[in-house]
């Protein structure tokens, strides 16, 4: 057994996969991609709010992964690296698109129009859409911190390392994001603004 509990043979196969992918094996690279693409797509979808944008981001991230395969000694390093690249690409995309929170708010209000509490009657898929829409009304930093914390299950220190801010700042961002999101989801924000 290795230190992290993985069987030596399995770990060796994973490292061999990285080595073969780095040597130019498209099949080995595809296996690596299959292990990470769904998770990274979910992260990008939550961060961008649009599936098409998330797909573009992950395509770019995977192409960068292929170009940087020589850097990795084992497959364990790939997941965190892809996560950082995905977060950065989502942030860059948001900067390029210059999405206005007012526009996002209009979309949100149009969905919730005429409903006292829109999430109560929504189905699972609709709840997810409402959640994504509400996440887009948070600031980019709040959204990134909250999604990394909850969806990726990272600690405050890990989130701080990825986003490049102090841990205390991350704690405040997550705190505000939780409360703001709750108000958005319960429809309270709409009533308060009237």
């Amino acid at each position: 057994m290795t230190v992290d509990g993985a069987l030596p043979g399995v770990q060796g196969m994973a490292d061999d996969l990285v080595e073969r992918a780095g040597a130019g094996s498209v099949a080995a690279f595809e296996v690596l991609v299959r292990r990470h693409d769904r998770r990274m797509l979910a992260l990008a979808w939550r961060l961008t709010g649009q599936l098409e944008d998330a797909q573009d981001v992950i395509q770019d991230a995977l192409a960068r992964l292929h170009a940087n395969l020589h850097r990795f000694q084992s497959e364990d390093e790939i997941g965190p690296w892809l996560r950082v690249v995905t977060v950065n690409l989502c942030r860059d995309l948001a900067r390029r698109k210059r999405r206005s929170p007012v526009v996002a708010g209009e979309e949100w209000n149009s969905q919730a129009a005429g409903e006292a509490n829109p999430e109560e009657e929504a189905s699972g898929q609709q709840r997810e859409e409402i959640l994504r829409s509400a996440l887009q009304r948070l600031t980019g930093k709040e959204r990134t911190a909250l999604v990394l914390r909850e969806l990726e299950g990272l600690t405050t220190a890990e989130v701080a390392k990825i986003t490049g801010v102090a841990e205390a700042t991350v704690r405040v961002q997550i705190l505000h994001a939780r409360l703001k999101l709750r108000k958005l989801l319960s429809g309270r924000l709409g009533r308060e603004s009237q």
Binding site: G24, V26, F29, E30, V33, R34, D37, R38, R39, L41, A42, W45, R46, L51, Q55, I58, Q59, L62, A63, H66, A67, G124, Q125, R127, E128, L131, R132, L146, V147, R149, E150, L151, G153, R171, I174, L175, R178, L179, L181, R182, L185, S186
Partner: protein, 192 residues
């Protein structure tokens, strides 16, 4: 404390912090804050659950990424092949280059014995014109002059010996107010 002031403590509790002093008692007696705590935990569960992604969306991303990688590999392969061919041609060219016979060193004669080649003094039209303007210049037809003496002043001996042609190549002679200064206008001639 009001309920609004407890909100941050409740959110921190959801985030995994220990409960602030007095929060537990407040939650027991406040249904609104208890509901907030429950809602925040429900939101947390929803956030922790990854969105359902249809397989086609995931497949599209994977295929597009693999296509991009394959195109890059093909392009890279073409560049590599082109570079290999260029390198092979270069190496072949170097190896097949005709051998050049070794050049024997040329014995350099001492500079004192070598013929000196002195360039013609550069003609300075503005200065000459100013002098001519103040002088009483007359244009005369070419006439017999002491060319040995004139050439000796203008050219070094070695150069004068190599000079070809006759002395009839003087186009104009200009006398200035200074009797020691005579301006000769010579026809241009190439030395061979």
């Amino acid at each position: 404390m009001s309920c609004r002031e407890w909100e941050e403590s409740i959110a921190l509790l959801v985030d995994g912090d220990t409960a602030a002093p007095g929060l537990a008692e407040h939650l027991e007696g406040c249904s609104g804050c208890s509901q907030l705590l429950q809602d925040l935990r429900t939101d947390q569960e929803r956030l922790q659950k990854a969105p359902e992604i249809v397989s086609t969306a995931c497949d599209a991303v994977r295929e597009a990424a693999l296509r991009k990688v394959s195109r890059r590999r093909i392009a890279w392969g073409r560049w590599t092949a082109a570079a290999a061919v260029a390198a092979a041609l270069l190496v072949a060219g170097i190896w097949r280059r005709p051998e050049v016979p070794p050049v024997e060193p040329i014995e350099v004669k001492p500079q004192a014995q070598a013929p000196r080649i002195v360039e013609k003094p550069a003609y300075a039209p503005p200065k000459a014109r100013r002098r001519v303007r103040t002088a009483k210049a007359t244009t005369v037809a070419p006439r017999e002059v002491d060319w040995d003496r004139a050439l000796a002043e203008w050219f070094p001996v070695e150069t004068r010996r190599e000079r070809r042609g006759s002395a009839s190549e003087v186009a104009m002679q200009i006398q200035t107010s200074d009797p020691d200064v005579v301006i000769l206008w010579l026809k241009e001639e190439r030395f061979q």
